[in-house]
Amino acid sequence: MPIIKADKYPLDPYLRTERLPHVWCPGCGLGIVLNAFLRAMQKLGMDPDKTVVVSGIGCTGRTAGYVKMDSFHTTHGRAIPFALGIKAARPDLNVVVFSGDGDLFSIGGNHIIHAARRNIDITVIAVNNFIYGMTGGQLAPTTPETSITTTSPYGNLESPFNMAGLMAIAGASYVARWTTVHARRLEKGLEKALSKRGFSFVEVMSPCPTAFGRRNKMKGIIDSMMYYQKYAIIKDNPNPLDGVIKPNEKFVIGEFMDAEDEPTFDDKLWELTKRDFLETSQADRAKWILEHRRHLETLATLIAGENIAPQEGEMDE
């Protein structure tokens, strides 16, 4: 029986199909991560009109151009500040930051630490390919020790970041690490991260056969995937400090942190707006609403759950 040719893919409603096939190299893990993210969205029934994908610069940054939702392709390393701005102005939207290790942890290193500290209600998907892929495979702060890159031909001398551990310590609500081989677990992890309130962070180890694999004894497309399958250990509630990745050694994957719901930054911001409204005298409320009319749609969504909607007659002037 031959394979059946199709012209539509089940995830096509979420994709800008006119831009496919995408620019990523054959065997790149980014497509797998995007696939898992869209499947998680589909399963949760998230509305694409109420979801914003923000990404920085780099191979992973191209994601923003392929999703059929509102998306931002921001300046280098500044995906998190843009996402914070969106979330602060429109708390009713689901904001997802989809970016790479270089963009989030090297160029935008400070932003992500402070975003975790503030506990903003956004989901961050950090695709870790251990390298600056787009610019030609230079050494990144996530490159494992002794790995060979174009700028470290004798092997990396520096210790890499333990991204998952750093986020767990900085105050994130949910921290997980998966690889592209564990596609089903990744999908479940993303589902959990998307439905979690507070700062959720998912690190995905993804192969880069073009810039990283071929210089580090993973020459073929499938070799990196087989490497992850061989060396990954799935643990229940692992210690975030055990998350260091060393070449040719077992590494830990799983859920590093799953904290209880804590008040998020945008919750506190909404509390402030609410207090401001309630402290306004009845006579001035119509004026207050006019002043905030640009945010009326957002306010209406938030007010619906709060029961402080203006009484009849208040709007008359």
Binding site: I3, Y9, P21, G29, I32, A36, V181
Partner: protein
């Protein structure tokens, strides 16, 4: 001598159906990375001789699968980075298996 419990178990096995799937492909999106071929648990896929628009070899089904036919596990569609391959459940009768 077949015990009552074992008889029940055999009857139940007869009633249970192994899911079967049809494999679909959006050929012009395939980049021939071979991940679906490498990770198919039943080894039903193989690289074809044809080339697509971009000059890659998309996968095709093996004529005689070494293990079993497609069981609709859906791993190829999750491991495919190019949104090209997917499976759909095929409705089959018990008697046909």
């Amino acid at each position: 001598m077949v015990t009552e419990a074992e008889k029940q178990r055999l009857l139940e096995r007869e009633a249970a159906t192994i899911p079967r799937g049809d494999v679909y492909i959006v050929e012009e999106r395939c980049k021939g990375c071979g991940l679906c071929i490498a990770f198919c648990p039943k080894k039903v896929l193989v690289e074809s001789d044809r080339i697509n628009e971009k000059g890659y070899h998309p996968p095709e089904l093996v004529e005689k699968p070494p293990v079993d036919v497609c069981i609709n596990c859906g791993f190829c569609e999750r491991i495919c980075p190019d949104f090209a391959i997917f499976v759909k459940e095929k409705k089959v009768n018990n008697s046909e298996q």
